[in-house]
Amino acid sequence: MSRREGLACPTCARTEGLEWKADTEAHCVLCRADFSLIPLARFSRPRPVARPQAVRVDGEAVCYFHAANQAEKVCEACGRFLCPVCAVPYTGRLLCPPCIKSGREKQETMIPHRTLYGNSALALAFFPLLAWPFTCVTAPAALALAIYGWRQPRSLVAPGRSKLLLAAFLAFLQIGGWLTGLGYLLFAVP
């Protein structure tokens, strides 16, 4: 069976309802989705499958995670011996699963998520203006968040600090407004 014939409908994930109109055009009779396939050169080539040498050879190193498998690779981060099942090519390196898990927060190419302090601080500085009495609490909070977020890791794709600056500026204005008002009430009003 060719790779194309074994393809599942990307919408309903079923293989039995596909009708191929042309080499790259198909229709799924089950979910009525029309789709086009854009195959790359290796789409039709069989993929190499990593299989461990299940027989352990005496005197040879074994996999750190599978004592029955002979070690064939070494983790580039921790140096553990690995069988081909445990040696995962990840961002250009061969790593074991625990190193992938522990390294996610350290390398830029492994980070799974980031908190956007700039957006949070800006929202905290801007939206409470609609109910301005709350700004006596939210403006200092926005300023604190902007200061805290200044040293925190930023977005991978938009790492600027302009939103933090804008939030701090807005928060300063609001705090200044409150202080001016309080000063007026305390000293100017008899």
């Binding site: 064939e72 690779k73 580039e76 961002t91 250009g92």
Partner: protein, 161 residues
């Protein structure tokens, strides 16, 4: 002090959606899909080596947008005509609302048919959420194709064993 070079190049901007925004970025050896929820960004990576093919599934997104804006435009056109024939001068306000509604309707039509795009890997289809227009999707895939084919070629560097 010189800035560190950017690791990612933007491939697509976020399509209009409610609550979250997705965008696609080209990295050195992988694609980065960013889903932003306003206060948090989630990153999904797809190695060029893992992509076998792309699938473009026709979607009804364009029809739904056309129906939404078209219905609104029809109502506003009716209001505009009513105001016009009633004879109290030319209804500029109604006309401006109608034009404001016709702009996204025309824009939606000009952007072309809509699709959902999946990158096929050995494990599962990986949805590319920010590619929603066929023309844009084909342009991005045309740009990516040589990179992917290079990664798949036997001369591409492989992790040391």
């Amino acid at each position: 002090m010189s800035r560190a070079p950017r690791l990612y190049t933007r491939l697509t901007r976020s399509p209009f959606s409610v609550g979250s925004y997705a965008s696609l970025w080209q990295g050195p050896d992988h694609l980065l899909q960013v889903q932003s929820y306003g206060f948090r960004e989630l990153y999904q990576r797809l190695d060029y080596k893992d992509v076998d093919a792309f699938v473009l599934v026709a979607s009804n997104r364009r029809k739904y947008w056309a129906l939404t804006w078209g219905s609104l435009a029809a109502v506003l056109a009716f209001v505009f005509l009513l105001n016009w024939v009633s004879g109290d001068g030319f209804p500029f306000v109604s006309l401006s609302f109608l034009v404001l509604c016709l702009i996204p309707l025309t824009w939606n039509w000009l952007l072309g048919p809509t699709v959902r795009v999946y990158a096929l890997t050995a494990a599962q289809p990986f949805p590319l959420l920010s590619l929603v227009r066929r023309r844009r999707a084909e342009a991005v895939l045309t740009r990516l194709r040589p990179l992917l084919e290079d990664e798949h070629s036997p001369s591409a560097p492989t992790p040391p064993s």
